[in-house]
Amino acid sequence: MSDHLHGNTPLLLSRTPAWKNFFSHPRIIIFIFQAIILLTLLLGAMKVWKNVQTFPRTDDAQIIANTVGVAAQVGGTIVKLYVVDNQKVKRGDLIMTLDARPYEAEAARAKAKLELVSSEVKGLEEQVKAAKATLREREAKAAYTVMHYERLKPLLEGNFASADQVQQAQSEAESSTALVHESEALVERAIHNLAEVHGKNTRIEEAEAELWNAELHVSYCNIYASCDGYITNLKIAPGSYAACGAQLFTIVDSSIWYVLANFREIDIHHIKEGQSARVYLMARNRTPIAGIVQGISRGVFPYIGASRATAGEGGVLAVVPPTFDFIQLATRFPVRIVLQGEERSDFRLGGKASVIIDTRTTPFGGELKLLQEPDFIPFLPPLRTPELKAP
């Protein structure tokens, strides 16, 4: 081909001006094109490097929401289920009812016990009154006998009273004084038996606490949703036995959706809290959703010295396995990105996503849907007053 070009050169020379002749020289053109290719490559590589540094990215990310495991606080047979799988529920919605009869019976027993104890306490109060009355009677008697002895004692010297009379009066005075002491002790004992502390009767308090506990158990038979969200993995039917504390199904909390994106440690130092992120959900036709970096994980399950098989037992630490074995790879740390805006229909816990973080934005200037709004008011199911049935 180059021979062919050389062959044409004399013809071109004869027809074109000198500068065109210079540029049409094959060697120069080839050199210029080669230089353009190499310089474009260099420029492109620099731009790619800068772009990747400014916009760290990962395709190892998943949509996450908080989950609330639904478990019964008391054991019992499920009598009624008010929800179906995948149903959206609101905080405070009644989800299911357990058989409350054993707990209602317990509440009735506790109520009866409270009444019994109240009656007993009244009896004890009467005992205190009786003991006090006895004390007063004995005090009166003792006052008389002591005075009697005091009067007789001087009469002994003038032989107006016999020694026997005086001794009898003395022993009666001592005896009745001892009876007063006994009576005082009896009053004390009756007061202690009554067991009133700070103006409240402890027996009644105990019985009231037992009744309260029994009423709580009755109220636990109604199980309510503790957050807004979706019923997930509901695979039970009425008639199943709900064991105390055993998780039956899950509510996916829909109040906050976020993405856990694993970034290599070499990229982490560019990422800061509050930076904006573009989240591409695989599920939603690739248009990005705005997110905000909430924080960067301080720790993942360390693989050194641990076998891959036991990694899941890391328990409280996130398990982020490296993708290859034979090369030492950068550890990846989960970066939590809170998705902004309204909840969308294709947010699903575990859905795949890819994330690009814009490290130029610190802190995020736009409107912030607050990251993790801690709910300071814990959810307490409404207490149902037990309908006590006579046995």
Partner: protein, 80 residues
Amino acid sequence: MHSLPLAIIKYSGDPLVNVAGAYIPAWIACMLLGVLGTWFFGILLHRLGYSSILHPEAVMIPALFGTITIWTWLLIFAAR
């Protein structure tokens, strides 16, 4: 389906390319375009009689491949 400018806007910055549910990294897609582009340019330069631009081949062909790959990525997938 989409005209190229629309596709560029729509897919801009997305680090993954969906191929029937399998998501391949954008840079692999770009490398594929790089291979095809290099092939196309090789043929074009040969037709135009400038095939000696690609000499020495060991340097210039990877350079051309790299240029096409990188600029495809920059145009379509770089975040802005």
